[in-house]
Every structure is written in C-alpha cells, then in structure tokens.
Amino acid sequence: MRSVPTSERRARVVPLTVLVPAYNEGTSIEDTLLSLLTQSVAPAEIVVIDDCSTDDTAAVAERLGVTVIRPPRNTGSKAGAQTFALSQVTTPYVMAIDADTTLASDAIERLLPAFEDPDVVAACGSVIPRRVRSIWERGRYVEYLFAFTFYKRVQEAYGAPLIASGCFSMYRADALRSMGGWRTRTLAEDMDLTWSFYEVGWKVRFIPEAVSYPLEPHNWHFLSKQLKRWSHGFVQNVRLHRRELLTVSFLRHAVAVAFWDAVVAAAAYLVVLPILAFALGNPWLLLGYVIDLPAVAVPVLVGAAKRRELRPALYSLPAFFVLRTVNAMFFLKATWLELVMNRSFNTYEKGH
C-alpha cells in the first residue's frame, strides 16, 4: 500500500470534482487515485462510484481517503455510474476519469485554463497507453501517437475535436447537467456528449499537453469487447446525430470522412484489395496494406521523439497495421449490423 506524499496535499485546491466510476477495479484503482492525489493542483473532491463491485474496489478507495458512493444497484455502464454521481457534484467543474487511467502530474492544471472561455464546456487531453507490451497495446500506442500528434491537433485548430475522450475529460458541471449527464442511448457516451455540445453551440477543446495514461486491452478478449463497443457506438452516434451534425462546421466533414473510411474504404481494404491481387495474379498489389507506412510514421515519430520514445515507437509500428485491419473489420461489421440488419448492440461490456 503506497501513501500519498504529504507535500502534495498542500497543492492549490481547484473547484473541481473528479468522478471515478469503478466496477471491480481493485487492482488498478489505487494507481488512478494516487495520480489524482498527487496532482499539481488539488481537486476539491474525488468521488469513486463503486458500481456494486464484488472485489475490494471500495476498500482501496476508502483507504486513500476519497469519497466513495454506491448506487443501490449496478448501473450497467460507465455512463450510468457517472450520471448517478453528477447530482452530488457541487463544484462548477467536473472531471471523469476511468479507474484504470493515471494522469501526468500537471494534467488537471493544464486542462483548467481552457474554461477561461465561457463558451467552452468540455476539454480533453492526450492519451498514451500506460503499458506497451502486447501486439494490441503496441498497435494502440502507435494509433494514439498518430491521432494525438496529427488528426486531433487539426480538429482543435478548426474548433471541433471529434471526441472528448471518456477516459479523461473535464466539463462545466451546469452544461453537463443540462444535457442530462452522460446518456446511455449509445455505447459511446463520450462521443454523444461531445457532439451534443457542438449542436447547441458550445465549444470543446483539446489540450495536447494534458496527458493521461490508460491501460489498453492487452489481449484479444478485451480488445474485441472494446472495439465492439466503440464501433457500434460510432455508428449509433452517426445515426442519432446525422441531422444536427450538419449544422456544425468542420465536424460534419470530419464525421462524413470517418464514416466513409469506416465503411467503404474498410470494405476496399479488407475485400477488394485481396480479391484484386488474387484475380490479377499480382501479389504486389498487397503492398496497398502498408503503402501508407511513411504517412503514418511521420506524425508517430514526431510524437514519440517529443516523449523520447523513438525506439518503442519504431518497434511498435508493424503492430499498428495489424490493429488497423482488425479495427476495419469491427467497424464494417458494426455498420452492417446497425444500419443494414437494424440489430442494435446495447450491452455495455468493459474492455478497458
């Protein structure tokens, strides 16, 4: 059992409540809470929502001196647990963080200034996997370095980050309440919330210097659950917001392009390319799977160099192409099931 350094407890207190939804997170929540308790600025309150865990999640949290609340029954999702706790938040700002995510020591301090603009209602930071060992973690590491070094910065420049990640985002509490909290109508509640904010004219910011470190799926079992949730969540959000999104500049284009790539480009990638290579007897066409390696490598290596992680980034590059292929399969399947077969998937299954 590690203790909280006493010097850190003297940090300036900021009017922020941190919500940590947790279901059987006894093995990971200690690191999360310690990273919150040792922030350069101290949140007014840290609340663990113990969603009727059957392990020692609550005991670990209580030992570290944070508030623990327990809904009368399991809420069934992270969104449900967070919204349950929202009614008890009294501070103007609220932050949600997964119970398997840690923060850089200055992450909260770096996010807060985003709210100096009264129109900003949410802010998110960069995400880097904490462990980079298995092929899936390596693939995700490269994917995040790519996204947070290039795509997300462009989205921020145009004032429309695609999503304020659910694993680590800060909100204006009033705005969040006016939306009814984190809604469970889709499996990607963070995307639903972000797009809803834009649709009523509010702003969301991406602050690259605020860094969080989640545990990413290390094996196929957890990865498939996560990708199933993400892919169905994305398609559900596109269907739900398709009209209102048209009023949001840049975002409407970014979502359309992402949807096209998730469906048509994924089909070409998974089906057309191998069929062409086989039918034409030209295996060189399979180079198409990795032809964009230089395009991926540039932002990844720029992001890795800043973190002094060039070697792990280089080693991990091949894993990205494996993960991308798997990603394409899940998004294609989700689109088929949700939009063609009209079979919506609504079961929240945690996959880290």
């Binding site: 795509y151 462009v154 420049a157 009023t247 030209n282 998004f331």
Partner: protein
C-alpha cells in the same frame, strides 16, 4: 477512439488538405477582422507534419521504383508496354482519392442545404398552423 483507417483512406487526404489550408484560413479571418484562435506555432507544427508526410510518401514511391520493377507492379492492371505506367498509376490513385474526398464533402454540403431548407419549411408550416 480512432474511427476509420487512420493514415489510409480519404481521411488522410482530408487532414492533409485541412492542415495545408490552415494558414490560408487564418489569413482570411484576419483580413475580415476576426480573431484567429490558432497560435502560429500550432499551425507550423501541423504544417511541418503535413509536409513531412508528403515528402515521406514521395520518397517511399521513389524507393519502391528502385526495388519493384514497373512490369511487376502493373501486371494485370495495365496493358503490357503501357508507359509511363508508374506515373499513370500514382496520378490515377491520387486523382481517385481526391475525387472521392471532394464527392463526399460535396454530398455533405448538399445534405446540409436540404436540411436547412426542410427546417425552414417546417418552421413556416408550424407558423401558418398557429395562425
């Protein structure tokens, strides 16, 4: 969550084009007397990455031309003796990508216009009903 095929697909082209257009957008905003909230350092960072990507892709194409013979790459795709096969292929690939991207963006704009038009009509109807 990363959606689509990061790096590949029209998403890559979309973000490259958006990056290259950033300074132009800032300039237009300043000329109109509007505030541009994007610091020049952030713009330069993204622009440098975009230039790096384009350069890296060009270099990869050049290296590929040294390693893979033209006939191998175009076997079954183009008639024998079609020259300059590689440049035709790369230009065609780029043209298809840009064309697809423009079509998708255009479709979104058409959908937006239709959405605005139908919303206005709906408002008009509800206004007449209340009268």
């Amino acid at each position: 969550m990363t959606v689509g095929l990061p790096g590949a697909g029209i998403g890559g082209l979309f973000y490259l084009a958006s990056t290259i257009l950033l300074p132009l957008r800032s300039l237009v905003k300043r000329l109109r007397g509007q505030q541009d909230g994007v610091p020049w350092r952030d713009q330069a960072h993204s622009l440098a990455i975009a230039v790096g990507i384009i350069g890296a892709l060009w270099m990869a194409g050049w290296l590929l031309s040294l390693v893979v013979p033209d006939e191998s790459l175009t076997r079954g795709v183009m008639p024998d003796g079609a020259v300059p096969a590689r440049s035709v292929l790369s230009v065609a690939t780029l043209a298809v990508g840009i064309g697809t991207l423009l079509l998708v963006l255009l479709a979104v704009e058409v959908a937006r216009v239709v959405h605005v038009w139908s919303s206005v009509r709906q408002l008009d109807r509800s206004g007449q009903d209340s009268l």
